[in-house]
């Protein structure tokens, strides 16, 4: 019993309670199913807040550690190990925070097979939490792969017209990368004699050339998930076809599993390779930033635009991580959260308008400001947050990242040249262009389409869904200190492990 009541076990597996309850229901009992899912997700959020209240921000190490032997035979040392530190805590909170919001957004949108939908959704939440908390490579991989299955169904059953294509593409793309990571995990487990992450990090001693290959194998899985240019082509399909709630979770949390993986595994496990490959990763990140922005500009489907903008935003995160200094990594982690909130909010807003008009084409809109003022104002705030306006959350993360990348670009730094930071900064301007372009097309000017005249503004439920996100957009934008305080110690601990002179150069 004590084992079950361990805080992290509770957080991770509480959604299963909801799943079991849902299994008792029938698909026709839509209302109960929705409530069960919502309450489960809210309780999970509550538990995660409870964990937060106990979290010691000054401790850089893993907390609430659970460590049990799982398989201990013949040189196989697999543990059931969960732990939380400053790198994972915000992502866990983001997951538990976005899940009830996403569930609430499906109240009207999902009307078919409601029970199954909520069931997959809660399973997905469990998988994601497991990914962020697992401290054993094997366990991590199990959770990592597990998340594919519910997402596959969320896209495949409740998605748009080309949902099957998108679902299978999503599954195979991710699988192809992650199974390479599996090989690297196995190599580590067999050669180093353990799958337990802290032990592996402490042990070290992997020759640099081997590190290089292992780094690439892990990076294959994470880069596809992020997705980094040029491995991003599954993302627009998946986003466009996924139902709104699926898009919210996909953009909000699932993609972060990739960036989180880089921080959690690639940097501490293969520090030499990380330094060696940092410029390459930064280059890909910057290309992603510019490419994502450029392609976003040429979209006519709003959802696709936001999907491509994710490629651009997550490029920033990767750039921050591979600046390999405190500002960069901390900024990257905060930016993961920011992107989760702003893009999640954008997808929700797109979902709202789609439920009303059943189209996402720019040309079908225009002049909405006059019809739905509340909706327009909220969209404006979220858009500005997404493009990084000072005072809103996006700015804080991007600024820290650019600062970090600039610092890493000075002489002797891992990136070697400040050009990366410079081009990334150009990306910020491009973001302003495509986002304002979208806003202008949709909300300003005259009303061109007759049907748009009678659109209803947001109702209470929808406001309830979106307002919590707005709170965080302002909070992080105006007073980010508590967030950085949570992240900081763990990140500086991580940076100390890297064999770079940069951390000293900066101070």
């Amino acid at each position: 019993m004590d084992f079950i009541l361990e805080p992290l076990n509770l957080v991770t597996f509480f959604p299963l309670v909801g799943v079991l309850l849902l299994l008792l229901l029938k698909n026709e009992q839509k209302k109960i199913a929705r409530w069960v899912a919502l309450v489960t997700a809210l309780v999970t959020f509550g538990i995660s807040l409870w964990v937060l209240s106990m979290f010691d921000a000054s401790n850089p190490g893993l907390q609430f550690m659970i460590e049990e032997d799982w398989i201990q035979v013949a040189g196989w040392k697999i543990k059931y190990a969960l732990g939380m530190d400053g790198i994972s805590i915000l992502l866990v909170l983001l997951t538990t925070f976005l899940t009830p919001i996403a569930i609430l957004s499906t109240w009207k949108a999902i009307d078919e097979k409601v029970r199954d939908f909520q069931l997959f959704f809660l399973l997905l939440e469990m998988g994601m939490l497991g990914v962020f908390l697992a401290q054993d490579l094997f366990l991590f991989y199990v959770f990592w792969e597990f998340t594919l299955v519910p997402m596959y169904f969320l896209i495949g059953i409740w998605g748009g017209e080309k949902r099957m294509y998108a679902a299978i593409k999503f599954f195979l793309y991710t699988m192809a990368g992650s199974i390479l990571m599996l090989l690297a995990i196995l190599w580590l487990g067999i050669r180093q004699g353990t799958f337990f992450l802290p032990e592996l990090i402490a042990k070290g001693g992997i020759p640099a050339d081997v590190q290089f290959w292992l780094f690439l194998a892990f990076a294959a899985a994470f880069a596809i998930k992020v997705p980094m240019w040029p491995l991003h082509s599954w993302l627009p399909d998946a986003h466009v076809q996924a139902p709104t709630a699926g898009s919210v979770i996909l953009a909000g949390v699932l993609l972060k599993m990739g960036t989180y993986g880089f921080v959690r595994f690639n940097l501490p496990l293969f520090p030499e390779a990380a330094v060696q490959l940092a410029p390459t990763m930064a280059l890909l990140a910057v290309i992603g930033i510019l490419y994502g922005a450029a392609v976003s500009y040429s979209q006519t489907d709003v959802k696709k635009l936001v999907a491509y903008s994710s490629v651009s935003h997550l490029g920033f995160v990767i750039l921050g991580i591979f600046a390999l200094n405190e500002q960069g990594i901390a900024g990257g982690i905060l930016q993961m959260v920011n992107h989760g909130i702003s893009t999640g909010a954008l997808f929700l807003l797109i979902g709202f308008i789609y439920e009303r008009r059943h189209t996402r084409d720019f040309d079908q809109f225009g002049g909405l400001w006059k019809v739905v003022p509340v909706y327009a104002v909220i969209t404006l705030i979220v858009s500005l947050s997404s493009m990084g306006l000072p005072g809103l959350n996006g700015f804080v993360g991007e600024f820290a990242i650019l600062l970090g990348a600039w610092g890493a670009g000075t002489a002797g730094g891992p990136l070697g040249t400040p050009l990366f930071a410079a081009f990334a900064a150009a990306g910020v301007i491009l973001a302003a262009v495509y986002i304002l372009f979208m806003f202008q097309k949709m909300f300003l000017g005259p009303i061109t389409v007759e049907e748009n005249k009678n659109i209803k503004d947001l109702n209470w439920r929808e406001l309830l869904v979106i307002v919590p996100l707005l709170v965080f957009i302002f909070w992080i934008g105006l007073y980010p200190k508590p967030f950085f305080d949570l992240i900081g110690p763990s990140v500086s601990h991580l940076v100390e492990m890297l064999p770079t002179a940069v951390s000293t150069v900066l101070h």
């Binding site: 398989i71 201990q72 035979v73 013949a74 040189g75 196989w76 991989y141 199990v142 792969e145 597990f146 594919l148 299955v149 596959y152 169904f153 495949g156 059953i157 949902r163 099957m164 679902a167 299978i168 599954f171 195979l172 699988m175 192809a176 199974i179 390479l180 599996l182 090989l183 196995l186 190599w187 487990g189 067999i190």
Partner: protein, 476 residues
Amino acid sequence: MVDYLAILPEIALLVLAAILLLVDIRLKEEGKDTLNWIALFGLVITFVLTILLAQPGEEEVIWGGMLRHDWMAFVFRLVFIAGAAFTVVFSRGWEAIGDRGEFYGLLVLSTLGMTLMGAAGDLVMLLLAIETASIPLYIMAGFSTKDGKSAEAGFKYLLFGAMTSAVMMYGFSLLFGFGGTTDIYALADAIAAGNVPTLPLMTSIILVLVGFGFKISMFPFHFWSPDVYEGAPTPVTGFLSTASKAAGFAVLVRVMLVAFPSVTVEWQTLLAILSAITMTVGNLVALRQTNIKRMLAYSSIGHAGYILMGVAAASSLGVISVVYYIAAYLLTNLAAFGFVAIYYKQTGSDEIEDYAGFSRRSPGLAFAMLFTFLSLGGIPPLGGFFGKLLVFSAAIQADMVWLAVVGVLNAVIALYYYLTVIKFVYLRRQEGDEVPFPVAKSQSLAIIICVLGVTFLGVIMAPMFELAQKVASSFF
């Protein structure tokens, strides 16, 4: 003095076969359903007796080295008997086989041959065991004589089988010439003492491998399996693809590891290459199948490739991985063919397209099918995943990272066609998919057992792992 407890399962199977044939003569037409129950309970009792009474203690030699009573023999016995029991369940009500006493008799006899294959320690015994297992299978594959496809399947199976076993016999005779003995365990020393040059020895090994390769449908001896799998009655196909294949692997592992230690590197390389080709061919061709039985046939060629990876590692972990993979594969593939059998009985179709909307007709069965196919595709936390993990580990440990990479790429290809089936079951619809789908109680119970077993093997690995370790310990 022969330890009769050690061969208790074989005796029990023989008695069961005799009972089945005798009862069949006495039974009237309408009572033939009883045979199914007798066969099932007989097999279950044999299974339980084997676990209770026939566990190996000290390594024992029976009949002057003809049989070995070790963990290898023990675990594979359980695999075969379980496979036969599930096959009996899925044969229920299957036209032209489900109510025929000979069918069950043949099935049990074939199982007997397989248990002997798993235990054989002498080339003579090996020959007899392989043929005892195969000849009933030829008949079973061609059992529906009125169905042209079935007869053709049995005929092709027999032709390929007879041919490859003739080649294998020639290999045996050469081995006898090199070693002067037919005892597999004495062969290694005799070959070492006789200073047999590598080339002739490898030639005879290859000849022997032809026979084994046929059983496990290894490239290039896999051509028979799609045709035979498609044509044979589906329950028989399930048996062929699991128990019969497992028997081939049992023999392969034992003979390779025990008899040819002097040329380990050579046969390792050979098997590694064959493994890579086998799985690539199997999976690539499976991609463009529209008939689910053919698809599963090619996929099972792919799985043979993965298991070969474990054999090629020639290590303790390698043997462990082979045993674990086979255990997981047995349950999954039996369930997979179980669905195909149940579905065919209802709808008369084996086309993947016709599975559209299945999740609406029978949510439970579709859910089990999802588990099964995800396990075949190697998604955690299911048994197939851990099996794959172990074979990859074995390859990595044996410094064959390239083979592991080939395996990994294959896993992605395989996932694609498994997802295709799931796609039809879950995401497509068709007319009339509101009609509920009746399933016999015993059959849904069998499928539940398979699915639970697969999940168990994926979540709590230790018990099976320890068993597999014991198997490995009799070789290393």
